[in-house]
Amino acid sequence: MRVRVAMLMFFGVLAAASPAGASPAFPDAVRARLGLSYAPPCAICHEGGRGGAGTVTTRFGRAMMDRGLKGGDGASLAAALDAMARDGVDSDHDGASDVDELRRGKDPNGASGVAIGAPPIEYGCGGATVARATGGGGGWLAALLLAAHFTRRRRRSGTGRGSGRARAAAIVALGAATLVAACNPYEVSYVAPEVCQSGRLWTGGDSESADMNPGMACIQCHSRGEGPTFTLAGTLYAASDEKDRCAGSNAAVVYVQGADGRTQKLVPNGMGNFSSKLSVAMPYTAWVQSADGKVRRMADPQSNGDCNACHTQHGLNGAPGRVVLP
């Protein structure tokens, strides 16, 4: 395992050095060529997803190489993608061509149409996905009460056999209660700054809450049939490159002005999420205004109310990253 870590570092160095034939720019080139809303991961071509010569062994990657793809050659990428579309290559034999799958956000190598752009692996109880906030404090309280109870009983019963049992029971009860308390799946977890600069991460999955999935494209996901239908929705952040699901900020208010001149005021909640169900005349303009009157304005009018669809961690469609405080 340590070796693997070292190897990761090693490959990391390699990737950073970007030798002549490297292709780290390919994901973005694929996005541009196919008009995707996301950049596919290195893993669609490189098995294991780390990149490197000799690792383009996925079926999609090989089909691309068969059609002339060469490392570091953007022109060969465009030509190979066009040839893939023309030939209707279906690498995973699931009936949908690779190019179609990429357009629909599916993995061209995935058997059952697995969504692409792997959500990061999460560690902790319940994989932090089966969330429902019911006071973790309750568990700790129970633990303390139990411990207190057994300690008192032990004092009363003095020494002797009974006390050993009571002490042991206290240890087990404390352990169990700790586990229950800790296992309690929090909807929001406190995380290290390298995970979220705000120090808070949404770990509640898709559980019913206005705090859900900060930073992610709300309207796009809800349009699959679940969750309320918003006309406008997004997340306000303090840092412009926060990752998806990291908590945002409510230190300012978002205004959206429709083409008809009507303005809506959207107040972010504690996670920085804001939304509206009122109709908006497209295209609209938007700005963020803080209590002391400072303003940050989007210069170009937009016709998509799903702010986070463009305002991703690094920004898509020309957006500069997150919608941030002025």
Binding site: M1, R2, V3, R4, A6, M7, M9, F10, V13, L14, P41, A43, E47, G48, G49, G52, A53, G54, T57, T58, R59, F60, S91, D92, D107, P108, N109, G110, A111, S112, A118, P119, I121, E122, Y123, G124, C125, G126, G127, A128, V130, R161, G164, R165, A168, A169, I171, G175, A176, L179, A182, C183, Y186, S189, V191, A192, V195, L201, T203, G205
Partner: protein, 396 residues
Amino acid sequence: MAARLAVVAVFALLVLASAREARAYPWMVRHAYTGCAMCHADPTGGGVLTEYGRAQGDLLLRTKYRKVPEGEEGEPSKTAGFLWGALDTPEWLSLGGSVRSALMRNAVTGVPATNRWIHMESDLRAFAKASIFRAGASLGYLHEGGRAAQVTTRAKDNLVGRHYWIGVAFKEDLWLVRAGRMNLPFGVRNVEHTLWVRSATRTDINDGQQHGASVSYNGEKLRGELMAVVGNYQIGPDDYRERGWAGFTEYALGDRWAIGASTLGTWALRDKATGVTTHREAHGLMLRGAPFEQLVLLGEATVLVRAPAGTDTSYGFTSMLQADWEPIQGVHFLITGETLKDARERSKTSLGGWLSAWWFFLPHVDARIDAIVRNVPTPVGDIRATTLLAQLHAYL
């Protein structure tokens, strides 16, 4: 070079005088214990010791500095109990724990050498039995690592729960049916969780446990466990959880030899290594034996199969052979050789060698030093990793 370092390190260690542990020690086969259930609450080994196990640990594991007075040979010392005997536990409850820290120096070609202190384990373990019911659990704290076993969701400083299960025993513990989070029944239950036979099959006892249900049989000659694996619910999202089976069976040949076979197969919608839907399998043979009491051999040879969606099925192989020589009670010298050919297209065989010295120098305390050299061929050239590891371990 590594060997010379190892020798120096061993002497340094002997001078500094330090420690030992009692987790599952597959090499207890030298004392004609082929099974684990006598000493371990978990019949397939590892974790909490039974009272009998503690007594044997005291009698057979640690170095004895004084001659045992006549007539007291079979008597464990008072320090054999939980927390060196400080806490009396009732009969229905066994408590245990493990604290393990290490200093590691790692040098990899092309990367500056690193020195790290790794706190590997600080676990409290409990096992309870009431009539036919059995339950076991562990809970601990880790500053770093052990991520797949963490209970809390932080990036560092987490609570870890490596195993917890409840079960029902039949026929005087001949059969145990249980469910929960358990060590995967596969291969030799090595403490060395980074051995390729453990890491490549994802069956280590560090954080390789999974949720599921199992049936185990612990006969005198024959033992085994078959587990239905439903995934590790301490990682997420669900796509990453591996589901399938894992099992082993082992048969004792005489007093000091045992041969066994293991099998494992899982599916994950998204494999943590390949990133795509992946089916993987591992099938292996294992051997434990003591040609004479001072020498124990542990061996394992496993075929690896991996079929990531979108790529062809690839085959690999991993093996391990370890000789453990215990010239004086409590002092072990180990030589381990290992190989790994990843189940990846065009992968080449990696080789590894370990030289280790291990001393159980006080009741419940052991120290160990390992010099590990591994050579991993990659398309861009061989990567040579040299690791020096000094561990201090206390079993509570």
